[in-house]
């Protein structure tokens, strides 16, 4: 019981540490808007304080770009079942994210992610948000 309480406290602390990133999500991304990207995963960078999913996907003009999708840190994602080997280069994915506030910047804050091949999804369930 005591161990469970301790783990809960630690988890809460880890979550709190991730919640206040060195930079501000709301200042970086336009959380009122979303962009949907369909493309190929180039790399999954599983790290603290933020993970990143690098995707090759077309921009609004249809030109392929390297998109950098910011995700949660290792602790939060692990609690949600996402691990280092969950995503692989070459995966075809559909990602929804809040776009950067800066025009011409190819990055977004991940809102949801799907891999149609096996039905893997993230986002929308309780706790599955980058905050």
């Amino acid at each position: 019981m005591r161990t469970r309480i301790l783990l809960t406290v630690i988890a809460a602390l880890v979550a709190a540490a991730s919640a206040s990133a060195h930079h501000s999500y709301t200042a970086t991304y336009d959380t009122r808007n979303q962009v949907t990207l369909t493309g190929t995963l180039v790399q999954f960078v599983f790290k603290n304080p933020h993970s990143f999913v690098i995707v090759s996907a077309p921009d609004a003009k249809g030109v392929a770009q390297r998109w950098s999708l910011e995700w949660s840190g290792v602790g939060q994602l692990s609690n949600q079942g996402v691990k280092r080997e969950t995503l692989k280069p070459g995966d075809e994915i559909v990602a929804v994210g809040n776009p950067s506030r800066v025009p011409g910047e190819y990055k977004a804050l991940l809102v949801s992610l799907k891999r149609p091949l096996d039905g893997f999804t993230w986002g929308g369930r309780a706790g599955e948000a980058v905050d």
């Binding site: 501000s24 970086t28 603290n48 910047e105």
Partner: protein
Amino acid sequence: MQHANRTLTSGLALAAATLAGVVVYAQLDGAGPGRELAPPDIAQEWRLDNNERDTFGQAPLGDYTGIAFNDAGRMRSDTTPESIWGTLEYQCRPHSSPHQWRGLGGARILKEQDPLTRKVSVYHIQFMRSLDRPIYMDGRPHPPAWAPHTWTGFSTGEWIGNTLKITTTHLKDGFLRRGSPQSSDMYSMTEYLTRHDDVLTIVTVIDDPLYLDQPYIHSTTYTVAQGSSLTMETCSGSFAENGGSDRHWVPHFLPGNNPALTEWLTTGDPRSNVGPENWVPLEAARGGLKTLYPEYRSTLTGATVDAAKASALTVPTLKSWTPASKAIADQSPRDGEVHVMPVQGNVYMLVADGTNITVSVGPEGVALVNTGSAAMSAKVLAAVEQLATTVVAATRPNQCFGATCPGVWGWSSPYIFTAINSPAPVRPIRYIVNTSAAAEAIGGNAKLGPAGSGFRAGGVGGVVDAVEGAPVIAHENVLTRLSAPAGKTPTAPMSSWPTVTYFDEFYKFPAYFNGEGVTVYHEPAATTDGDSIVQFRRSEVISAGNLFSTVSYPVIDLEKGGSIQGVIRGLNHILDLSFAEYRSQGGTWIVPGHGRLSDTADVASYRNMLVMVRDRVQDAMSKEMTLAQVKAARLSLDFDGRYGATTGPWTTDMFIEAVYRSLQEKK
């Protein structure tokens, strides 16, 4: 009587005991006759109390309420996005010092004590995402203005009663609080740390002479965190978080094009669920000196500001700082003197009457990057010789005794040789590099070149001997600019011309010099068509020449083939060659042509500024604005106080014109 005596004796004993107790107590806490009360001990773990505004969460973007921004500070903040954190050079920077106390993760204060007096000589303050921050308590002065700036700056402290007053200078540019309000790199900070029982109150006063008309002040509260340990977070930034494929991408908003600044008018302040209808009016939320005073309310009718009333309103001004222009000029003093600044490895920076000369000193001799003005030649030569003597040839005290001392030729007391020794003659200037044809780059060639002796390789017998004078290396366009065909008058006497030129992308010194490789890179169409930078590969130092200055906009000579695009390319090249040591500071040191010693973050800041100005001018040109209109629009207002000038040889108008014409020519 006996009872009375006993009572008296007991009373005296009690009094004596009490006094003794006082004395003992006084000795324990440091107080007593002629002794001040010892300051409280602040060295321990502290937990942030999130009960003050902005300690958790952040103000909406564009909300500068409570900040005495001038127009330059407001413009810089409006145009600098949070995405700047994603650039390679800033990914690992810690929070800026004004915000650091309010960052997550608590604080740790450590202390170093003099082992004899037990006085605290240095406090160290650490945060979850910070560098170690020493607070020197031993009375040492602050470094000269040409010393580097860091994220935590240089701090000294003194106790005033039970309050520790910390004064910090030499800070890099950053932000006042999370979100967007920016600071320049000329701000200083005064903090007052007061401990009451288990509560530590920190009052922070930020003086930014470029962006603020009055100091920005906030307080933060910590409580003792007994038994806890500060969380440490290292940084693992390693790729372009901003996406895309341009590693030199600089995110920014064009003036007037940041839609987020008024977003809160519809969303309100998420921290307190205050709707926009109950928030301060937009104009007041944009900050400014007058908005800080209650009298400002008299200019409001509802949410509308009466411009005439606001203009007529007078409020006190509390400017207390040294004028920014003087502080900037001090980074490159034109005082007729030569100041020596150790850099790293073999390399030193000479600040010679407003021009920096980079010097490599070692057992093989001296290499100079640029020679300063002709008028300073004698002083520069004397400083170089003194530096070489100190570094290489100085007699050192004997450090060993008796027959166990090492010796090759048979033993004799090293003490004898130390006592009767004299310094060996210093090795001469072996190389000179000119990074451009500018007067301050080549001015001392005529005197310093002949004073040196280059290497001559080979010859029968294989003796490496000296040739007359040190070779002067430069891109061949420098020679072209300085010389002239027979019958025509050159722009500089032959004694100032380079003697070894290169035409390609780079030139390598023929062999290691002072134990390292030295590479001279050409930076095409930068301030001129002959610019070079010089990399000292083992010392990890780059001499940037006139591509980089911390005291002015780059002096771009269009007539000699310069361009804004070339300067930006050259700065990007410097960044590509450089490394930060840790958390986006230190590592490779960059010696600017003028101004303080710098690192990658400083070069990035300068590069970012030029990109922002270039893009603003380009945008104005796309709207078919004339040069006169562009100048009148003051598109570089947020940087003019830092790098601009209204008089002198290189004014802001001249710089803007150079940018404008560069873009017309599309180099």
